[in-house]
């Protein structure tokens, strides 16, 4: 399932790659959904991401609650643009993490589908069954990989990938065993890919849907995670929605607390990571590491310089000026961004236009 990485709410909550404050950023997302619904109707407009929330230290229930609360925020943004919910909701999609606790992850994916279907039917009165679907991509948990005894990471990734598949994921990313040390080598990436192919072609698990349905344990766990996630969504609703919650630092603090608690549990061996706090061996990390040639930076700078010389700079300036005018009003900025791109305006130049109009957001430095 192809997805753009354009969920801005999870940036404030977890990944922290932002430029502008939350409200103007949400306006850009609203413009994008409105534009894409009309112009590229079969495109998955946004990948609403729990992955980064989990990597930053959240629990499974927090990942689910905060991600679905972000999804609610985007549905509201689309409706506020004057769109009918069934016109754009079928193209929303999600992106979850798959962590180490196998059944907890399976239950999380199952709970995600339940909650989203009810949110879309009951809260937003969507009539098209495709609007009720929680389609999602999954990536195995990068944060679970260890520098110690790194070949064990293949096993971790396999278990996490299996949980995602039996949990019903639409697509899958398996991490490479060396990613806790560097960008992956070709060999490590190939093993990660083969892990998926073995699950898909040999294990037989992909031939059935929701194989744990009816298991007392998994159904009960699904109920528990669903209730915990709904509790987070309720708290965020009570704060007036996800933007207000983010501005208050609520999800950020919850995640920070969970990350610290997890580390303390590791120190007390209440949680175990094989090779880190149990079954530790004396070792020197001796696996191939990818190094990136520093020339890559020079080459890219030179490319940008060359394009800036060869393009029609009058046209670029005019396109950027039109974009700025649109940004200052409520006009949809998407056609103007595309004009800038067609004239070879750089990403930096386009972002600078919005910087001027919207200002910049700075890390609130919450611990």
């Amino acid at each position: 399932m192809e997805q753009p990485k354009n969920d801005i709410l999870k940036e404030y909550i977890a990944q922290k790659s932002w430029i502008y404050p939350p409200k103007p950023s949400m306006r850009l997302i609203g413009d994008m959904i409105q534009f894409a619904t009309k112009e590229v109707p079969k495109w998955n407009t946004i990948s609403i991401s729990g992955y980064h929330i989990r990597e930053a230290g959240s629990t499974a229930a927090q990942e689910l609650g905060f991600t679905l609360a972000d999804g609610i925020g985007y549905v509201q943004a689309g409706i506020e643009k004057g769109l009918d919910v069934d016109d754009f909701a079928p193209r929303l999609s999600f992106f979850f993490n798959s962590h180490c606790d196998f059944f907890e992850e399976v239950a999380k994916f199952r709970a995600a589908r339940r909650i989203w279907a009810r949110v879309m039917k009951d809260r937003f009165k969507a009539k098209n069954p495709r609007s009720w679907m929680c389609r999602f991509h999954t990536q195995t948990a990068g944060v679970s990989l260890t520098a110690q005894q790194p070949y064990n990471n293949v096993i971790r990734t396999t278990l996490q990938a299996l949980a995602a598949v039996v949990g019903g994921t639409q697509s899958l990313h398996t991490n490479s065993l060396d990613e806790t040390l560097s960008l992956p080598t070709e060999e490590a990436v190939t093993i990660a890919l083969r892990t998926q192919q073995i699950i898909a072609e040999e294990s037989g698990v992909a031939a059935t849907i929701d194989p744990f349905a009816g298991s007392y344990f998994v159904e009960n766990l699904t109920n528990e995670i669903e209730a915990a996630a709904l509790d987070y969504i309720q708290k965020i609703d009570d704060m007036g929605g996800i933007i207000n919650a983010i501005e208050k630092g609520y999800p950020q603090r919850e995640i920070g607390n969970s990350a610290y608690l997890f580390q303390q549990q590791l120190e007390k061996k209440e949680k175990i990571i094989v090779g880190v706090n149990k079954y530790v061996v004396e070792e020197t990390t001796d696996i191939p590491i990818l190094t990136v040639d520093e020339k890559a930076e020079e080459i890219q700078i030179e490319n940008v310089r060359r394009i800036k010389k060869s393009r029609n700079n009058e046209n670029v300036k005019a396109a950027l000026t039109r974009l700025k005018t649109a940004a200052k009003t409520s006009e949809n900025v998407m056609p103007h961004i595309l004009n800038c791109v067609r004239e070879y305006g750089s990403l930096g130049e386009i972002c600078d236009v919005f910087r001027d109009v919207f200002g910049e957001y700075h890390d609130p430095k919450w611990l």
Binding site: A14, K16, V143, T180, A259, I273, G275
Partner: protein, 133 residues
């Protein structure tokens, strides 16, 4: 004057990987040190200015972006230029074993790599960070 060590936990670079920096900052605070956290997206200049202004005894850098071979030596060079080379510089992140001796040669007092325990870090700070004058 209090004898409590003051530590600046700093996050240089453009990436947002602040989980480690925040966990370490909280652990240092809970261990009784005075901790100042810079927040994200700091340049080496911003970090060194904060270290001098806040009169800290140590700067702890968290680097997961791969840019450690630039960022650590640059902070040390700028501290020297400000006459503040008595501030201890340590840190951690995704740092390959081969790079650690080179960083230590450039003046980094200690590098902690993935899997380091909070107790290791707080004990090292207590034992090895000397108060500045």
């Amino acid at each position: 004057m209090s004898n409590t060590l003051r530590i600046l936990v700093a996050k240089p670079g453009l990436d947002g990987h602040d989980r480690g920096a925040k966990v370490v900052a909280r652990a240092l605070r809970d261990a009784g040190f005075e901790v100042i956290y810079t927040g994200l997206h700091q340049t080496p200049e911003m970090i060194v200015n904060a270290a001098v202004d806040e009169d800290v005894d140590a700067v702890s850098l968290s680097v997961l972006s791969g840019a450690h071979m630039f960022l650590f030596p640059e902070v040390i060079r700028l501290l020297k230029a400000k006459g503040a080379s008595d501030i201890t510089v340590f840190g951690g992140g995704i740092i390959p074993d081969d790079d650690i001796p080179k960083l230590e040669q450039s003046g980094v007092a200690k590098i902690f790599t993935p899997g380091a325990s909070l107790t290791d870090i707080t004990t090292w700070v207590r034992d090895c960070v000397k108060p500045t004058k």
